[in-house]
């Protein structure tokens, strides 16, 4: 594969190659396996988020880490939802 810095389409080619591999890997799984993999990923990510917060805050107290996780998650959700949700139904 050409170096992305040497060829104008090389970066797109690299992106396509990575995407192709992801799709082909997903296609090799059954739908049920994909569903369960999503569940496992979610549980693993949740565990790592907590561990990351504990390491960042230098604490062994999970409740302190959870408070920080909730604060950050709440801010992230507000950002994602911005403009998409309203507390009032506006008349058109």
């Amino acid at each position: 594969m050409p170096n992305p810095h040497d060829h104008p389409t090389a970066l797109t080619d690299l992106q396509d190659s990575i995407y192709r591999e992801k799709v082909l890997r997903a296609r090799k799984m059954t739908r049920e396996e994909r569903f369960i993999t999503g569940v496992e990923l979610t549980n693993e990510v949740s565990r790592r988020i907590l561990q990351g917060a504990m390491a960042r805050l230098q604490t062994t107290d999970e409740s302190v880490a959870w408070a920080d996780v909730h604060r950050r998650a709440s801010r992230l959700r507000r950002t994602h939802d911005y403009g998409m949700y309203s507390f009032e139904k506006l008349t058109q």
């Binding site: 799984m29 994909r34 990923l41 979610t42 949740s46 907590l50 999970e62 996780v69 998650a73």
Partner: protein, 187 residues
């Protein structure tokens, strides 16, 4: 609380209240595309029966705390209720009320049964075509990426593309569908 435990809790509550429902969001997406983690358990609930949503929320509380205030999505004005597990978790529950939008109704009628005894989940999910139409309708960057993932993983040749094209024409999202298809590399 693990994500599957949270999903099962909500599904069981819907069943106990005899409310027709459908698991959507990343759970349904993962079934048809490239698996990823999620922050939400999203469920569409038919609450046409008076008081249905209050009964469902009443059954889920206090283990899942709802904020009391309903939110409206600014595209279709569908109603959303957000619940947080009382136990520490990064997850949330989002209950979407079924409403009289023609596409939302069609999507709900066409839902498929899903049984996964390995993780004790038995529920309903949308078809892949309906997920694509929905994602293209929302049209945020992540939605368009998700639509591409479902199209690429399932393959347009195995999907009911006339159905997708018809709804995209109604929603005026045909350009998004075409652009999304064009971004799928040769596999």
């Amino acid at each position: 609380m693990n994500v599957e435990e949270l999903a099962i809790k909500v599904i069981k509550a819907c069943e106990a209240e005899h409310l027709d429902h459908m698991l959507t969001g990343a759970f349904a997406f993962n079934y048809y595309a490239i698996p990823r983690s999620t922050k939400d358990v999203d469920i569409v609930v038919d609450v046409t029966e008076s008081g249905g949503i209050a009964k469902l929320i009443g059954r889920l509380e206090p283990e899942i705390e709802f904020r009391g205030q309903v939110q409206f999505d600014t595209l279709t004005w569908g109603k959303r209720h957000i619940g947080k597990p009382a136990q520490d978790s990064t997850l949330e529950v989002e209950l979407f009320e079924l409403f009289d939008d023609p596409f939302v109704q069609s999507q709900f009628k066409r839902k498929r049964r899903l049984a996964l005894p390995q993780i004790s989940i038995e529920t309903w999910i949308p078809t892949p075509e309906d997920i694509i139409v929905q994602k293209l309708r929302w049209g945020r960057f992540k939605d368009l990426e998700d639509a591409r993932d479902v199209l690429a993983t399932e393959g347009p040749e195995s999907l009911d593309m006339p159905y997708v094209e018809n709804w995209c024409a109604i929603h005026k999202t045909t350009d998004r569908l075409e652009a999304t298809l064009a971004r799928i590399p040769e596999l």
